[in-house]
């Protein structure tokens, strides 16, 4: 893995220029500049309230009324790039009265199986096969989506987002509600997907110790991008303290301690 600062010749997956957004009188994004070359696995970190999720929402067109520019794969119009994006939300707020099964949920992503309602299991599974084997969700197919554990649900959401073979995968706090061993497995899975599919992946996380092991490049956000760089560099940067406040200093002492939590 070679790590270097983004240069101009590399095609950019994400290019954000002077993004500003004020919500209810609070300036959440105060001029964010961000360039992510295609094919990287990057992490966007920052404390709670730093604007990570808001930035992601701007990129996905879920948040409007911002100033500045968001370009994905060189295009400012989101309509045309949306099919190239896979998105994994933080969590689902699903009622248990709604018994959508995992198989049915995954079929919703495949436009041609609009008729999943009448189809047999076998023909659905054939269409889903590739994605299922990769993520290991075959055993979950007949379970209702609302009954899955946090870790199981995250894997199903990943499988869902990969079904259309996206070029960019955006994950919002993907391990919220997942236990620690599950979290490790999850990040290993993301790393594997990234390597195998050669897609751009952006992880949003407040947990530096986890992303440290997996990301090629880290962006620290707190209203603006305070600092960015490869994990080794950024962990020691003075400016990280700016992003995280004063609580973070213990990180410097255990770079390989992915089982340590910051609190």
């Amino acid at each position: 893995m070679h790590l270097r600062t983004p240069n101009k010749e590399e095609p950019l997956a994400i290019e954000i220029t002077d993004l500003r957004l004020t919500l209810a009188g609070v300036a959440i994004l105060q001029g964010v500049n961000l360039k992510v070359p295609a094919g990287r696995l990057v992490a966007l970190i920052g404390p709670n309230g730093a604007g990570k999720t808001t930035l992601l929402r701007c990129m996905l067109g879920l948040q409007r009324d911002y100033s500045g520019e968001v370009k994905l794969f060189g295009q400012a119009g989101l309509k045309r790039v949306l099919p190239r994006i896979g998105y994994v939300p933080q969590r689902l707020n699903l009622e248990r009265t709604f018994v959508l099964s995992v198989r049915e949920f995954l079929c919703l992503r495949l436009r041609q199986t609009r008729s999943w309602f009448w189809r047999s299991h076998r023909s659905n599974d054939a269409a889903l096969r590739g994605s299922l084997a990769e993520i290991g969700v075959e055993s979950l197919l007949d379970r209702p989506l609302a009954n899955l554990s946090g870790g199981e649900l995250q894997r199903v959401l990943i499988a869902y987002s990969l079904l259309t073979n996206p070029d960019l995968l955006l994950l919002d706090e993907p391990t919220a509600g997942v236990d620690l061993p599950g979290e490790q497995t999850f990040y290993d899975l993301i790393g594997e997907i990234h390597k195998k599919r050669r897609i751009t992946v952006m992880l949003v996380s407040h947990d530096l110790s986890m992303v440290y092991r997996h990301a090629d490049w880290i962006y620290a956000l707190n209203g603006v991008i305070c600092c960015e760089g490869p994990p080794q560099t950024i962990m020691n940067a003075e400016s990280l303290k700016q992003a995280y406040g004063i609580h973070v200093s213990p990180y410097e002492h255990h770079h390989h301690g992915h089982d340590h939590h910051h609190h």
Partner: protein, 269 residues
Amino acid sequence: MFSEPFMQRALIAALCLGPLCAFLGVFVTARRMAFFSDTISHGALAGVAIGLWLGFPDPTIALIGVSLLVAGAIFWLKEKTDLLTDTIMALLLSGSVALGIIILSLLKRRPGDIHNYLFGDIFAIRWWEVGLIPALVLVVGVGLFLMLNRVSLITVHEDLAHVSGVPVRFMNFLFIVVLTLTVAVTIRLLGIILVTALIVVPPAAARNLSRNLRQQIVLSFVFGLLGALGGTGLSYQLNLPCGPAIVMTCIVLFIISLLPRTALRPRPV
């Protein structure tokens, strides 16, 4: 019972509206909109009163109009204020009931008239409605079925639906309009107070017996059909108000659906 024209009309209405309410109900319950449907139906009381006040021979049009107004008011207040949706709906529900009762008491209607709107009336369905109801059911039912993917995805997660290319705002708007129209039309059969039961009980009974969404939709459809037809029949045979008869039939189906629950439940691994 099938030879009476009023009964033929009521049965046609029940045949159409039972399954439709039950089908819509699968998504209404999953999206926590049961109270929303209740608010809309109670708003209809003001509609009925205004219709009678204005001297309409049949207040159905006023009823539908006011129901749509109440639905619009819920969303307008949600956008303009910081109030919880629950609070807004409770306010509009009690407000429109109060307005309806005041107008009706000023009009000095016999209590019997109001009674029929509150609890449903098998004599209420007119021939022009028998034309309207199947048309509504066909358009809404087929439309909802064709958009099943999109509606299901919005129910799972609105942002995920947006990223998957679903026009979320438009679909939500459409869903509200369709739900409002369905509730307003079904009021004739079930009455203002009980109409929500036909939207909530069949999907709940179906949920008890289902392992996936397809099963829930099919079973809910069947329960809606049985409940509406059975209840209308009972209403005629036993001379009961139509709404309570349908609701009790649905409740009996719900109780039956609870029975095999322990047997069908996936065993803990």
